[in-house]
Symmetry: C2
Subunit: 240 residues, 2 copies
Amino acid sequence: MIADVADVLIKRLSQFSVLSERDRFAIAKVSFTVREVEADQDIVRQGGRPLFCPFILEGFACRFKLLPDGQRQIIAFHVAGDFSDLASLLVDRLDYGIMTVTAAKIVALPYPVILDWMATQPGLARAFWSIGQLGMAQLGEWVVSTGRRTAQQRTAHLLCELVERMRHAGVTGDTVSFPFTQAELADALGLTPVHVGRMLLSLKAERTIDISNGLLSILNWRELKQAASFDPSYLHLRPR
Amino acid sequence: MIADVADVLIKRLSQFSVLSERDRFAIAKVSFTVREVEADQDIVRQGGRPLFCPFILEGFACRFKLLPDGQRQIIAFHVAGDFSDLASLLVDRLDYGIMTVTAAKIVALPYPVILDWMATQPGLARAFWSIGQLGMAQLGEWVVSTGRRTAQQRTAHLLCELVERMRHAGVTGDTVSFPFTQAELADALGLTPVHVGRMLLSLKAERTIDISNGLLSILNWRELKQAASFDPSYLHLRPR
DNA sequence: CGTTATGTTGATTCAGATCAAGAGCGGTGG
DNA sequence: CCACCGCTCTTGATCTGAATCAACATAACG
């Protein structure tokens, strides 16, 4: 049984800011509709107008930019609990797209609603600012990865970030859902699919991780963090 | 003679949002102090606490991340007219540093002041949101560069972006100040200084640009944009 | 079950890194 | 005014991490 959408939103936003009774009520009084989207479907299209922020209830999505020569660069993965497009509240054209990686359940939060929340509820404004900052910090680290880390380090770093974020959003255990194809990882890491495959294989060979059936198991968290020189402080995730 | 700081801020912010008389007054009533900083000095230190947002009146700065192995990745250049650190309003620790590239004049806008402006002046809140989004869009494009563009394209793309942004901030003409060393460009582009040098040389050889005495001249803007496949729409810069 | 997606493996190539040595060029001080 | 020092840039030779190319092996899948 899925809890009421408002409850999920409130719970998630509470992780970023202390919400008052009025903050919570402002959310509860809105009626949300859940959209079910299949895998590999556009949620928002590059070049289109930004109308809403997709909140992900279940499944995975990614934010990407298409280049004129047909290449793709993924600039973020979105997991359950992410507000995936807070970046375009006041912009008239999207310079990136968002699409699902797996089948997903999302809630489309219309920008006018968010703007209203932010204008009238300081606690919510604060939460949305924080989430925006977090997205920015993640992007900054993505630049560091593509700019200055080796293929091995980048790959390990992405795994670390994803697992850490999923944990913050409520996933527990050392085995998490991991439905990404090597082509998708390659577009995120700025590598070729073949090379990503080799990097994963080498991590598997040293018994650091295991990936099978769309599941990622961290066999040796210490080793993985070390391979990535992963320092989670940029995620600014206070303990839950 | 430099105009009053408040005037400069108002003029700049007006490019991002329509400011009311009250918005302008809120700015004018604050007393600002200008700090003069030499070249290569830290403005905010990685790992420190975010206290203020530096606004650049004159000169150049950069935002960067230091890696454990001593490497550096520059994630943004800041030019006159930039609010260089809107990203950490609500964060407790900085995961990046900001330092000058040249001697610079900056105004340190204390976060409490900005928060107050944003809480009470919708026009200013809007402007600061927009500026934040812009920074995010620039970061996204930086990922695309390091992830998927060749050395040649990246280099040309960075030049395009910098010139375009300086124009938006008021610089005119085909020759602009360009005080960056090849080592700095390399840390921004995810390349080695030697290779950046070669890329610039080849752009000079085709008479696309010229760099000398800290000045960059665009000799063939069309050619440069083409070499970068530069599409400025991500900058969301409405005509001035 | 064929059929299309994805993943694995190996051989080869190439863009960019690395290494090394000069060359220019302010700046500083004797 | 010149000798020297420390940067930054240039140039060339060599090396290497990741890309490319090309089969083949597995899944997943209607």
